[in-house]
Amino acid sequence: MSARLTFAVPSKGRLMEQTADFLAESGLKLKKVGHDRGYRGEIEGLDGIDVAFISASEIVSALNSGRAHIGVTGEDLIRENIVDADTRVTLLKPLGFGRADVVVAVPSCWIDVNAVADLEAAAVAFRREHGRPFRVATKYINLARRFLSGKGIADYRIVESLGATEGTPAAGTADLIVDITTTGATLAANGLRVLDDGVILRSQANLVASKVAQWDADTKKARDDLFARLGLSA
């Protein structure tokens, strides 16, 4: 029995279309296997590769566990969801789509806070006034924590937010946020502004390989065939 390479591709939306376009540029065609609404597929002309259509965030866990050998997903999701990502996966190639910046944004009215370091002084006064640390709303708990502690900011508290994060400062459930933005328009509409040095990550979709998947002769050959068609070196 020959081992097959699993290639994880976003299962819906713009990311799926753009992944298909990216492959098409190299003359590769994604194809569903079986039922049209199923989640399995293949790449025409490349034997030895199973395509798995799954959600972008599940692609991260598939790469991290080794269930998928290669996948397309956002760097933000990789950095957020894998502890010590560089030991588990390799980012092979940024793909130029799915762009989003992960940023720290504060209410625009905080005119005394412009750099991340200014948060520290503000936090001391805030705790004295309100008896609690700043609340930072985000779904990027790990990215936010690593970034802020790397900048020497410790007195804050993360509040997990899975949607409408930009609205939390105005609603009073958080004081500042860490979120993704593309144009900044949504932030501005909610009275928020990105700190001068507040860009945590300029993220985009990447072609990613798992370091922990089973790489035997068959899967390596399948990978090399795919890379040759994409013009990548292994």
């Binding site: 502890v83 209410p107 625009s108 009215c109 905080w110 005119i111 005394d112 806070v113 412009n114 750099a115 370091a117 200014d118 520290e120 002084a121 503000a122 936090a123 001391v124 006064a125 805030f126 004295r128 006034e129 309100h130 008896g131 609690r132 640390p133 930072v136 708990i141 924590r145 802020l148 502690s149 020497g152 410790a154 007195d155 804050y156 508290r157 993360i158 997990e160 400062p169 105005a170 009073g172 004081d175 009275g191 001068d196």
Partner: protein, 392 residues
């Protein structure tokens, strides 16, 4: 992990009975605080760094909970449930599991699930006496459990506070340094900044507004900030008020004009933080450091010396005790005396017991006012390893 092995289980149970017997005999009531705790209390008190070391989860009601990372905060909460007014003395002892995520992987010295045996005393009237009693009791329990050879490291956050209070600088700088004391790298950077270029960049600030602010007129500053925001079409959102924003601007404006921290003051703080000396010499060393300004340190040094004297009287072998000014910096809630029991076999990063004074914690957890509090806990798996003669 290791705890689940039956051999360890029996030995740990027996050891726990020994430790608890010592605590209970000294009048510390045995209690069993909840293992599952609301995460918010820990995150607010200890800070977000805790999340990186704690098992935090959301239950089906959407409530953010955690497996307790230690037993001190849970015991504080138990005290407040029993005595919401926090108006009486109480002595508690406990033995039970605590949980820590180990980013570098769990091992024998740093398991993700371990048992703490310890004591907490709330509402003492005599801090020095309560500090000494806590340490002596922990040492007695360790001895009962078979630990013969140990070293002790002590510190005193109160000494640092006093030293800082004495150094010449604006109050807002003092507050910032105090706030950062327990993060040595940040603290060092801040001290360097204050003694070289205290001015923060004002480039991004509205110059006309900064110019118009009068440091002696806080109410006026608030009005100016509100007017500025209105003119600029910026809506005031969130919990932080215009007054707080004005205060932030005033501090920046004041920093911009302030002369740097005097080299003597910075050198004094640096020298103090670097102090490591036999415990009985520490008071003399700190007095000498502070020179003629040491009057301001009087009370704090007296308190330190009295505590040492009480320890000597209780029979603690002070030749095995070192003072480290830096120590006490890793946990934000300590306010005074701190101690750590070390053994050669495990090294300085794996103390078998530790504790200290935390007079501000109960208020942060919900008490109506500050409550004097001091406690200590034994890392029971480590103790067992050492007592059995193992290295790791």
């Amino acid at each position: 992990m290791g705890v689940a092995q039956p051999v360890n289980f029996e030995a740990l149970e027996a050891q726990a009975r020994t430790l608890l017997a010592v605590f209970i005999a000294a009048g510390y009531e045995a209690v069993a605080p909840d293992i599952i705790q609301p995460a918010g209390v820990f995150l607010d008190v200890v800070g977000e760094a805790l999340r990186g070391r704690t098992y935090v989860f959301t239950d089906l009601n959407g409530e953010e909970l955690c497996l307790r990372p230690d037993l001190t905060v849970p015991t504080c909460r138990l005290y407040l449930q029993r005595h919401p007014a926090a108006d009486r003395e109480a002595f508690y002892s406990y033995n039970g599991p605590a949980f820590r995520f180990q980013p570098a992987g769990a091992g024998a010295s740093h398991p993700r699930e371990f048992r703490q045996s310890g004591i907490e005393a709330f509402g003492d009237k005599d801090a020095g006496e309560a500090d000494a009693r806590t340490l002596v009791l922990i040492l007695r329990a360790l001895q009962q459990a078979g630990l013969g050879n140990w070293k002790l490291r002590i510190g005193d956050v109160g000494l640092f506070d006093a030293l800082l209070g004495m150094a010449e600088m604006p109050d807002r700088w003092r507050r910032r340094l105090r706030h950062q004391f327990w993060r040595p790298e940040v603290f060092r950077a801040e001290l360097k900044r204050l003694s070289t270029e205290p001015a923060r960049s004002t480039a991004a600030l509205p110059a006309a507004l900064i110019e118009a602010l009068d440091p002696d007129d806080v109410a006026g500053a608030e009005v100016l900030v509100s007017e500025h925001l209105e003119k600029a079409g910026i809506e005031l959102i969130g919990v932080r008020s215009a007054a707080e924003i004005a205060e932030g601007l005033l501090a920046i404006a004041a920093d911009a004009k302030a002369p740097p921290l005097k080299p003597e003051a910075a050198a004094l703080i640096d020298a103090y933080v670097a102090t490591r000396t036999p415990a009985l010499d520490a008071a003399g060393v700190v007095r000498k450091l502070a020179g003629k300004t040491s009057d301001g340190l009087g009370q704090a040094i007296d308190a330190y010396e009295r505590r040492c004297k009480l320890l000597v009287e209780s029979g603690v072998d002070m030749s095995k005790v070192d003072f480290s000014a830096e120590f006490g910096r890793n946990v934000g809630y300590y306010t005074g005396f701190v101690f750590e029991v070390l053994v050669d076999a495990l090294g300085p990063s794996s103390p078998v017991a530790g504790g200290g004074r935390y007079d501000g914690l109960l208020k942060a957890v919900g008490a109506p006012h500050d409550v004097p509090a001091v406690g200590g806990a034994v890392h029971t798996e480590r103790l067992l390893t050492v007592v059995r003669g193992g290295k790791k």
